[in-house]
Assembly symmetry: C2
Homo-oligomer: 465 residues x 2
């Protein structure tokens, strides 16, 4: 089909705001009146309306008014089969898995249940403004198939994989390394690079993996080097100890994955709350990424992720953000930014010398402040970089896939409009600074109610009713 | 007028769940089909419909279906003049006050602005299901007057007072101790016990108070011993140090308030994040209360309030919960419970020995788990006890004021109904345990969208549109 245009107020990023201390707006790009030109789902032109429109005479244009349009949100760590049990009471990670999570995920062996769950899951993503996710499925290939089938129906860019586990889980939930290998191979053949689907070799976590299972993951990654690798790392203190007991010979948690050649570009370790300075440095050097999941880290009491260590320019670690739904109690990446800000401010206090003078580090304290620039970059372009998808999406550069969201800065709790009226009047934001101020309130005061429209490959798939 | 009845599913408390370890449901009271009889705004009868209805032949009954009805929520610490600036970026407590808060609160010297702000504020409370609050106003009596006038119009039970500050704030914001005393006396005469209004002597915090200002507070409390006292305590580490520098002779923060005879029944110290064990014990012995404000504590990076110390049965401290809006980024007490749960789980991990073995305390770790029983008690009967209002409200005992909320357990994020369907079908909860499970999801997954109706003195003042 021919090209179409979307006219509105656009806000995206061209660089990492953490690299622009004191001038974060230089990392952002803002058009109060912009035009995005899309053909076959790909962005072909973008910029100020007055500059771009003359290049496309006769273009069919959809105007989105009274909204800020951002690239679609990226959720780097989410558990597709936990949708129904998000927000389950009262346990830290390991007992929580046994009590709440494995029983629900088991239901995804049933194809009807998995298919219904997939439909609900993707509806929830779109209603939250999430256009790309990296997902865990269950240990049954049925769950992985239904996940990719639904993603295909919606033409969404996703990363996922059969989620392998052979220890510390119920007998009817685990599977053998050989079966995991065989099933993963079949899924890779069927889904990796099929449409917009991408495959991740997915050992759930080292705590639930025998050496044999990790060897099979190593083999899969060697045979399919362009596949992603998705797992968990250093989430909870008891879990960290347990992993070292199960994998003697590894000096630390990262070392377990390094031993099997899994750590490098396209590797995502979710959480990383308890990573040491040395592990951060090795992750940085290898090109691996960490996925920060603050809702979950707080909900399960895992702790405060050291944002300022991951963003230390001396050893910057690629970083995506994630809901970790259902350890995370909400689907919305906006709620993730709320909790990310709170984790960061708690770290900021712990690093300013007022609590423990020996821990004072003003620069690291500052890196923990989750400005709207840092926050929204992390769930768009930064999240894409963390997932090695930034060649395909994350901002409005021509050549990228046209996934985006239209946010209503006044929508959400009743308190929002009067608050936002301190920033802008009816005409909407005119500068990047005004847009950023509005977006900060969206992340801290509102939630998915601010998501008014979600578009995938230049087509609107969700409109808030 | 005559009596009216409200029929529906009722959930309230008769005791403190922390006193019923392992059998928290014994502290709660549940009627799947209950009847509340109200006359002139006061509860005259309550219980199972089949038991109560025969006692009131011809009673005009309103049925509230498909909802759980709880006592109205109590917000023990909220800043009326910060409504417009909730969620302001990037600072810990002290610089945040100077940059964002004092400039906005100054506007409340203007009566029109204060009147408009009061209307908005009370609309927001009711939409959040909050039926009683203890509020800070600004340093201008105009703000206190407009607050009480609006509360009077709505016939709501509130505690508030002129918020005194004479240090560390802009010149046009502070006032002299003499003026504070004079204006407080006038406000007490006009509003204390006028209708449902109650007055609190309100030194904003020791960091902003000269010894003379605190002496005037001491005098006001001596002259009006039945007034409340509302202030802040031990919120932020730098603030704590500053207070001791400003008030030499006091051994700790609580000691500053003790020196002026302010600590005792009806004293509320907001936050208490950095209270020592000794301060907790003294607060317990004196009958003073702490107000836990987790949204704010996280938003300003103040730290993790030690829930398990305050609830230690050896020295139980009365405890209300508060939004601390605008240090808290949301108006809803349900969001407060979300963050309270998260603070509690983080404490739980820090106390289980897995991080620092010398800090292991299994009992204190357990007291940090914010079950739905503990959470909803804390914002109803427990909150009332913290504010010495439990003779008048907090549950459905006859003789108490008929303030209540009707919650829709399916309302909120799109994910909620499928999640709740694991607990109940269309018929709603039949047992207290089912109700508690539904309420946990309300606090962790939803927000004020779950508040469907809010009633004050037996009249419905809010219905969600």
């Amino acid at each position: 089909m021919g090209a179409t245009g979307i006219r509105g107020t656009f806000f995206d990023f061209i660089d990492d705001p953490w690299k622009h201390l004191g001038r974060e707006q230089d990392a952002a790009r803002f058009h109060a009146d912009g035009l995005l030109v899309v053909e076959d789902g790909i962005i072909t032109d973008f910029g100020a309306y007055d500059a771009v429109a003359p290049r496309h005479a006769g273009l069919e244009i959809t105007a989105i008014e009274g909204r800020i349009i951002l690239p679609g949100f990226i959720d780097g760590h989410i558990h597709f089969p936990q949708t129904r049990v998000l927000g389950a009471y009262g346990e830290q990670l390991l007992p929580w898995l046994q009590k709440w999570i494995f029983p629900e995920e088991l239901k995804y062996k049933d194809r009807n249940y998995a298919r219904d769950g997939a439909k609900r899951f993707f509806d929830l993503l779109l209603a939250s403004g999430t256009t790309t996710c990296q997902a865990f499925t269950s240990s049954s290939p049925v769950s992985t198939e239904e996940f990719f089938e639904e993603a295909t129906r919606r033409n969404m860019r996703v990363i996922a994989g059969l989620t392998g586990i052979d220890r510390n889980a119920p007998d009817d939930f685990i599977d053998t390394p050989d079966n995991f290998y065989r099933d993963s191979k079949a899924l890779i053949a069927r889904y990796h690079n099929s449409g917009r689907n991408l495959y991740a070799v997915t050992p759930r976590f080292a705590y639930g993996a025998s050496p044999e299972l990790l060897q099979r993951c190593e083999q899969l990654k060697q045979e399919h080097p362009d596949c992603w690798v998705n797992t968990h790392i250093s989430e909870n203190p008891a879990e960290c100890r347990g992993v070292l007991e199960q994998h003697p010979g590894a000096e630390d948690y990262l070392g377990v994955y390094e031993k099997y050649g899994l750590v490098g570009p396209k590797f995502s370790g979710g959480h990383g709350v308890w990573l040491s300075d040395g592990e951060f440095r090795r992750m940085s050097a290898s090109g691996a990424a960490v996925v920060f999941c603050p809702c979950s880290n707080l909900f399960l009491g895992s702790g405060l992720f050291r944002i300022g260590r991951a963003t230390d320019p001396a050893h910057r670690v690629r970083m995506s953000f994630g809901t970790d739904m259902g350890g995370g109690n909400r689907f919305s990446m906006l709620n993730v930014l709320d909790d990310a800000y709170k984790v960061g401010m708690c770290n900021n206090t712990l690093l300013d010398g007022s609590v423990d003078p020996s821990r004072q580090d003003a620069a690291e304290a500052e890196r923990n402040k989750m400005s709207p620039y840092r926050g929204f970059w992390s769930i768009t372009l930064g999240g894409a970089e963390g997932l090695y998808l930034d060649d395909r999406l994350g901002n409005f550069n021509p050549g990228k896939e046209a996934d985006f969201v239209a946010l209503d800065w006044n929508a959400g709790p009743m308190a929002q409009p009067w608050h936002q009226s301190l920033v802008v009047g009816d005409g909407g934001p005119k500068t990047v600074e005004e847009a950023a101020d509005l977006l900060f309130a969206v992340m801290m005061v509102s939630d998915e109610r601010a998501v008014d429209e979600t578009w995938i490959m230049g087509k609107r798939l969700y409109k808030k009713s």
